[in-house]
Symmetry: C3
Subunit: 365 residues, 3 copies
């Protein structure tokens, strides 16, 4: 990449992102915490600048000849689409890889005799893709019932260990860092200066058990911006304890706060942003699928409606999508002026443009 | 897009396409009738010019950084491929979306409680894709047996209503407008001045019931060019009555004619172009699948052969493809000098280059 | 393509590739033997030069607006990915076609009445794709038990006959020419001057019967470079007799040698390169799947280990991937300093950049 070709404010914002990787090592983003508070905020600034300068960037094609490969072991509309779009804005090419059609059955265990169904070892698969693409993205959801293991994101770490190029988590068991960056940008767009403003992340009903990745990343985003972050959920639906500790540490560092409550009404009082998400119980009787349905049936009043947004000033509504209407949130919220879900989805593009420019811009094509 | 970068004759032809949309609203193409007669002819002219200037356009990349998203709820070879090619000619990126891998199960009904299988509502799906892509394309075939509803193309209209960007019909229940544009260009290529020349659109046997979209769009194309259009089909295989009315109106406006006959021999007399298509009966006993097979068995002599093309001067043969050899048309026609089916397929590219330039050229990237 | 825009050494190396096709005819690469010895070596030289000049080429986009279509009737990670990457390096667009989603069910037989399951004839499918793309790639593995027919690569030849543009074999029954080009480049990278050095291509155990394409193409590559090529395999696992004759002819022309042995130990003595591959027996009792598993169980000591590489000087290890660890080759080989498998996979990109530049560079976009 010739930095000369970038608009000067983009080049300046890019230079303001401190590398979070050792010299010569690839810069992974598996949790989104790797860049640290300063790095995270610099990425959000860069995302805002590239959005302003999108036309000039599209013309200069800073990543011409480079390839980002996205591997989806689980389905995606927004993430896959917004990555291709981000590549298009930068002049890079997007390589879409999916099991069955374009990935062999992979073996992740070391020192195994591969005489079973697995056709290729992660060491070769990641190694080869790292020779083809200048960065890799990976979506892999957790296997249920193995949280102690899954919370370490072993599939993501295996790719990162063997790829030799940056690996970006496109939603895993613990985090969805691209969503977190986009959320921070959206919080800024909606509030101007989010510092000290109240972000309520509230559990909402859903027939299936969702993942913890989005709530974790959103809480970290709000905490990093110095917001007054309140997590509201029914008893038994705790998030990961260490993820909450990490959120509290970010809040301390940024001058914000992170608190947790089961009192939904109190939480919504005075909210500036109401961000809804759905997840299952990690432990306890609700953890099984049947238990989840029963538990949700008794928690239908956690559905977000317009009244919930009117308790302070008018709060904006956020959701990572896809969203089940009239289960998670009412039609009138989504169709009303306080919904920011489309803007939030669009910001995925700019967050990822910023990230790809940071991770792929310094590598030779 | 910087119009400066376009060759002057392309810029001039592009400026000659009158917008068929209100200021600030997106320019959908759901039936192909939206641009009106003048607009349709201007698009065909533009298609011819961009074909001549393809190398300069590829160099100038007028849609750099922009994305066209194609959604295929039904299979496609030509449409999907030619859209990617059209994007490549313009420097745009093509985003391919297919159910299962890259689209969630969609809900189209408003005010529903989404506690069933549908994971995302069309309002969010279309809204998000409209933030990612500068135009959307959509193929969705009609559900059988609900013609009153399907003829209004409800899926296409739902995307158009909620996308906020142009939506292009890539074949729906009533129309295949990209095919219609390509057909008009092909009629011109073959005949020079098609005005007053005879286009016969003839029903042909096929083991399955085809759609009405291609015959409708082809009839409109011929009628728009002022041709003497004759539709020939067996009794009971009527096209949509309103579609025929629209064709007659276009013929009147352009100085052409549109007539319908069950007398195949009379129709073929003196034809300049013979365009074959296959469709099922919308009503009557042939409408069921079993009925269709029986009806077709008795109509095998509607298969097009070389003698059919020799009844006037030598008529060119057209078909939208895929075509079943020796069922719809004989080998000697397809392999002989009068077949224009490959040229017709290629013109899909240039029709779509013209359309994308028109719809996406004025939007900021 | 404007050759002015290419770096001068690339333009010079490209000019050094003699066309292997008649004026106006497309330049297919179905076996990899088409360019002849001189042409093959010139392509390898070009591959090396484009690798050195990759950044300048990515900037100049010599194939802007052009499309390469890859059709995969069998799965692929490396080939599909490396083709998209090669296109990205050249500014071309990659069109990915797969059965079910983007190809109709094809009929290959001529003069058939298409009233069965096949929806489109190869004549139209290839003809249309040849109007959309400036070159086509095709992967189609052989049907088992029809070797006399399959060895002629009938599917590849059918596409080549009807496409009107170059068709590249992306692995077929007899050859994998892109792999062969990449292998020759890798042999050069590893050895500097491969002439007279010893390449051992050794059969290795695998639970499934592999194809003959990679061993054929690798043997031809080594023979073309004037190497001392030794093919080692158990009795009953002969390669195609004519393919071996072609290898011997290349060896004679280049001043190298090609010999065959069942004595694995003798073969490995003094090897500079050990290239492992797995294939089934074409004839004899091992040819059935059950027979294959039994045969392999008795041949486990053909697995490559570090001792095998240490018998002469240190030999480098090669494999086309995917590879089953500890069945085909031990972990310590793949993870040790003598493994060249990732470099070999990366060279697929540069071989294909060279090939696409040769085949697509002279066509109008």
């Amino acid at each position: 990449m010739s930095s000369d070709s970038l608009p000067s404010d983009v080049a300046s914002a890019l230079a303001g992102v401190p590398p979070w990787w050792a010299d010569g090592a690839p810069g992974h983003l598996l949790t989104g915490l790797e860049p640290g508070l300063e790095g995270f905020l610099a990425l959000v600034r860069l995302a805002s600048v590239v959005r302003d300068r999108q036309e000039q960037i599209a013309r200069s094609r800073p990543l011409a000849g480079k390839v980002f490969a996205g591997m989806f072991f689980d389905p995606s509309l927004r993430t896959r689409s917004s990555l291709l779009v981000a590549c298009a804005k930068l002049g890079a090419e997007y390589l879409d890889l999916q099991p069955d059609s374009s990935l062999w059955t992979l073996e992740f265990t070391d020192e195994v005799v591969m005489d079973g169904v697995a056709q290729e070892h992660i060491r070769e698969a990641a190694g080869v893709l790292g020779r083809y693409a200048q960065a890799l993205g990976l979506r892999a959801f957790p296997a249920r019932g193995q949280w102690d293991r899954e919370r370490t994101q072993p599939v993501h770490r295996a790719f990162a260990e063997h790829a030799g190029v940056p690996v970006v988590n496109l939603e895993g068991p613990m985090a969805h860092p691209c969503q977190g960056l986009a959320d921070a940008l959206t919080f800024q767009d909606l509030l101007g200066k989010p510092r000290g403003r109240k972000l309520v992340f509230t559990w909402a009903p859903h027939p299936h058990q969702g993942l913890l990745a989005v709530p974790h990343s959103a809480l970290w985003a709000g905490s990093s911006l110095g917001m007054d972050v309140v997590l509201a959920h029914p008893e038994g639906f705790d998030l990961d304890a260490e993820a909450l500790d990490q959120g509290r540490a970010l809040a301390t560092e940024s001058g914000g706060a992170l608190s947790i409550t089961h009192d939904r009404d109190a939480a919504l009082e005075g909210a500036d942003l109401v961000y809804a998400g759905s997840w299952g119980a990690v432990t306890g009787p609700e953890a099984s699928r049947g238990g989840h349905a029963d538990a949700v049936a008794a928690l239908r009043d956690w559905k977000v409606d317009t009244d919930d947004l009117r308790r302070g000033g008018d709060a904006f509504f956020l959701h990572c999508l896809p969203v089940r209407r009239n289960v998670v949130v009412t039609d009138d919220v989504l169709d009303g002026p306080l919904s920011a879900v489309l803007q939030q989805a669009e910001n995925r593009v700019w967050a990822q443009v910023a990230l790809l420019l940071t991770l792929m811009g310094n590598r030779s094509s």
